[in-house]
Structures are given as structure tokens and as C-alpha cells.
Amino acid sequence: MSLIKKAIDWGTRKSPWIIHFNAGSCNGCDIEIVDALTPRFDLERLGILQRGTPRHADILVCTGAVSLQTKDRLKQIYDQMPEPKFVIATGTCACSGGVFDGCYCVLGGIDRVIPVDVYIPGCAVRPEAIISAVVKLLGALEAQQKGGGKDAERRSDYSTVGREIQSFEG
């Protein structure tokens, strides 16, 4: 039994499929995400694939300060993803609201709506920072799986995995 679980854990670490959602960003960060998916950075080396549908995805990569219009949609997309799932907040806006903080129409950060696992500051973030964040998320996940991975109730703690702010000097 534990062998099967180990195999599944290994698979989870080796094949993160992402879905990208724009929660009211200025589009700068989105272009950087698209940039990170180009052949130049070759994310398939790490097993990362971009999927169109939340049902296939493991990691939700969000950008933007969550405008009131996108709030419900963001929640809905998150709910549609199957467990275990992770969220990466990409860009200063997604972390804290950034330049839009205090604006009447934004909530100011992804974590006001859904739990976030990794924050990547930067305006706009660099593709290297996004890749590094995914690798750190997977590293933290591995530590978590190796550490307290004996009960089946691993899902509930996933939302706190690797809750760390990482900065990237590019």
C-alpha cells in the first residue's frame, strides 16, 4: 500500500500540469507566463504542461490583484480543480495588490479569495522566477510527503505547503 502511495507521490512531484488564470492583471505578468512556456525555457523538462481545463490541472498560476469582476470566476476555477491542487500567485499584484492596492475595484491579492502556496513578487515577474517558484513548490511538497506522509489526510495540509515568499534578483 505504501509503495503505491510512494509511486503516486513521486508522480505528483514529477508531473505538475498548470493552468493559467488572469484575475485582473495588467497583462504584463501573463506575457511573462506565456514566455516561460516557450521552447526557450522548455518547461516540459520538468514535466510541466499547460492544460486548458482546470479538471486536468494541478497548479493554478494566477496573476493580478483580483478585481471584483473576476473574484467569483477565480473561486469557481479553483473549485473545479481536482485535489491535490496548488496555487501560485504570480507578480506583485497577485501577492499584495501591487500598484492597484487600495483601488476601489480590487480585493488586493489572490489570497483574499483562495489559499496560496507560493508567492512570486516582481513587476512583471521574470520567467526564471516562475520556474524557480514551481521547483520550490515541488521541493516543499517532497519534504511534506516524506515528513508526515503516513495518513490519508494529506490533502488538508496541502494548502499550507511551502508558504514562503521568494524573491528573485534577475
Binding site: G11, T12, K14, P39, R45, G47, R51, G52, R55, P84
Partner: protein, 312 residues
């Protein structure tokens, strides 16, 4: 009895098929990546994807038909596995064969496509429905050329069994030259059957998200993915059994030859996938009926003439 069961379940049957199909997916993605000047995924990537999907939560949409939603992936996988029994892997002999198994194999290969259509239909999503209707439209376009292209060599071999055709063409390898247009038609139509670029309109991820599989998650998606990989192996084996049956007579060598031939077919399909862009659905239907079907009919006429001329 036990030996037969072992052959069907382990080698060269189901277990071999799944392992080889994971390897095939890796090769396909690696070649695709190398042609795009990338490194590509590591060798264990398809296995990791499969294991991950097995471990994920299965979500069934509230409006979907629960039974059909869960049964369809299993049916399609078993249809492909059943078809694989009739294709020669070790030498000239398939695990089982009878006169007319070519037709059975072709119909078994239609089942996964139908399952894909039903899967999209029963998921009740907008994207899934659009995708499944496209799957069905595409089926009508490539199925006829594919059938005709695979049946044309049967006219020369004068047998309707895959094993019989392999044996015939292995004895008379030069007849293969006549069938080159049919080989071309079969490869292009196979690309349509497998829903790969340029015929991936049904699952076009940039316009209709993921087509019929949009609502699938977890192990149901894993089974569907492995079905598609197995179908790839199946088509490659079928094409190499019918069109490239060069044999040495030694079982081990023949098996190596089988691997070489199927990988060659895969390389061709991967090349086609990398250098082309997606067609619209009506372009695809037009292409199949305007060019592929006439070539296949021409092939049948040629084969009939050759047969009469040589007095076979």
C-alpha cells in the same frame, strides 16, 4: 490454455501493450521537442503523468450520466487491447487469428473513437459537446479512406486476416511497392484517427479547451490517455504488419525488427505532428474526401488490375 492466457495478458498482449505505449508517448514527445529545439521530457514522464492522474480526485459533473461517464474509458481501453490480440508482434503469428480478423480489428479501433464521442456527449459541457460532435464528423472523414487503404493490400494477399497478409507479403516483399499510395493514405488517416496535429480539431486546446475530455479528471482521464497511447501503438503495429512485413524467420530478430518498424512509423507520425498546423474541421473533411479517398480507390483499382494481370 495457461500459455494462451499468459500471451494475452502479459506478452505480447496487454502488459506489453501498455508498457510499450508509455514508451511510445515518451518517444513521440521527445521527437516533437527535439524538432522544436527543446530538450523534451525525461524518459519516465508518461509514467509519472499516469501515476499522478491515478492518485488524483475524480470529479464527475452533477449533470453527467454517472455510469456512462465511468464505464466509457474502460470500454475503450479494452477494445484497443482486444484488437491488439490479432496483430502479429512475435514473428508472423499473432496471438489469435481467423479469416476476416482485419475487419474485426478495424471495428475494434472504431470503438475508442465512439467512446470519446459518447464521453463528451455524456459530460454535458458545452466544450465537451462541441468536441464530441467534431470527433464524430472527423470519424466520417478518415474512416473510409483508412478502411480502403488497409483493405487494398488484402486484395493482393487474397486473405482477410492480418496474420495471413503478413505471411503473404513476407514471402513476396516486392508486392509492397504496389501498395505505397495505400501506405501513405493509411498513415495520414491514422493521424486523423489518433486526433493529432494537423487533425486535432476535436481536442483543439486553444479553442475548445480539451474537447470531449474536458470534464475528465483523475484515473478516468488516466485510462483515456493510456487508451490513446495504446491506439498509437496499435496503429503503428497494424501498419507495419500490413505494409512493412519484412521478416528474417528468427523470432528474436523479428521482434527487434517489429520494434524498429513501429518506431519508424511513429517517427513519421511525430514528424507530421511537428511540421503542420491544425486544420479547421471542414478543411479536414474536404481533404479526406477530395484527396485521401480517391487515392485509396485508385489503389483498390490498381490492386484489382494487378491481381488479374498476374493471375493471382
Amino acid at each position: 490454455m495457461l500459455l494462451g492466457l499468459g500471451k494475452i495478458l502479459i506478452f505480447p498482449g496487454f502488459l506489453f501493450l501498455t508498457v510499450y505505449s508509455l514508451l511510445f508517448e515518451y518517444l513521440d514527445r521527445k521527437v516533437y521537442a527535439r524538432l522544436q529545439n527543446r530538450m523534451g521530457p525525461p524518459w519516465y514522464q508518461p509514467l509519472a503523468d499516469f501515476l499522478k492522474l491515478i492518485g488524483k480526485e475524480v470529479i464527475i459533473p452533477a449533470e453527467a450520466n454517472k455510469t456512462m461517464f465511468q464505464v466509457l474509458p474502460v470500454i475503450s481501453l479494452s477494445a484497443v487491447a482486444a484488437a491488439f490480440i490479432y496483430v502479429p508482434v512475435l514473428g508472423k503469428e499473432a496471438i489469435a487469428s481467423f479469416e476476416g480478423d482485419l475487419i474485426v480489428v478495424l471495428y475494434f479501433l472504431t470503438i475508442p473513437t465512439m467512446c470519446l464521442f459518447l464521453a463528451g456527449w455524456y459530460s454535458r459541457g458545452v466544450y465537451a459537446t462541441v468536441g464530441s460532435v467534431r470527433t464524430l464528423t472527423q470519424l466520417f472523414a478518415y474512416e473510409v479512406p483508412l478502411f480502403m487503404a488497409l483493405l487494398a493490400p488484402a486484395l493482393i494477399a487474397k486473405t482477410w486476416s492480418v496474420t495471413g497478409m503478413t505471411a503473404f507479403f513476407a514471402e513476396h516483399p516486392l508486392y509492397i511497392l504496389i501498395n505505397i499510395p495505400a501506405l501513405f493514405v493509411a498513415l495520414v488517416a491514422a493521424q486523423g484517427k489518433l486526433e493529432r496535429v494537423p487533425f486535432d480539431t476535436p481536442e483543439a486546446e486553444t479553442e475548445i479547451v480539451a474537447g470531449p475530455l474536458v470534464e475528465y479528471s483523475g484515473r478516468l482521464l488516466a485510462i483515456f490517455r493510456i487508451t490513446i497511447d495504446c491506439e498509437l501503438v496499435m496503429i503503428a503495429s497494424l501498419v507495419s504488419a500490413i505494409f512493412l512485413p519484412f521478416m528474417t524467420g528468427n523470432i528474436a530478430l523479428d521482434f527487434v525488427l517489429y520494434l524498429v518498424k513501429t518506431v519508424a512509423v511513429l517517427l513519421f507520425l511525430a514528424l507530421m505532428r511537428s511540421v503542420m498546423a491544425r486544420l479547421r474541421i471542414e478543411q479536414m473533411v474536404n481533404f479526406c474526401w477530395k484527396y485521401l479517398a480517391p487515392i485509396a480507390i485508385l489503389q483498390i483499382v490498381i490492386n484489382l488490375l494487378v491481381r488479374g494481370w498476374l493471375g493471382l
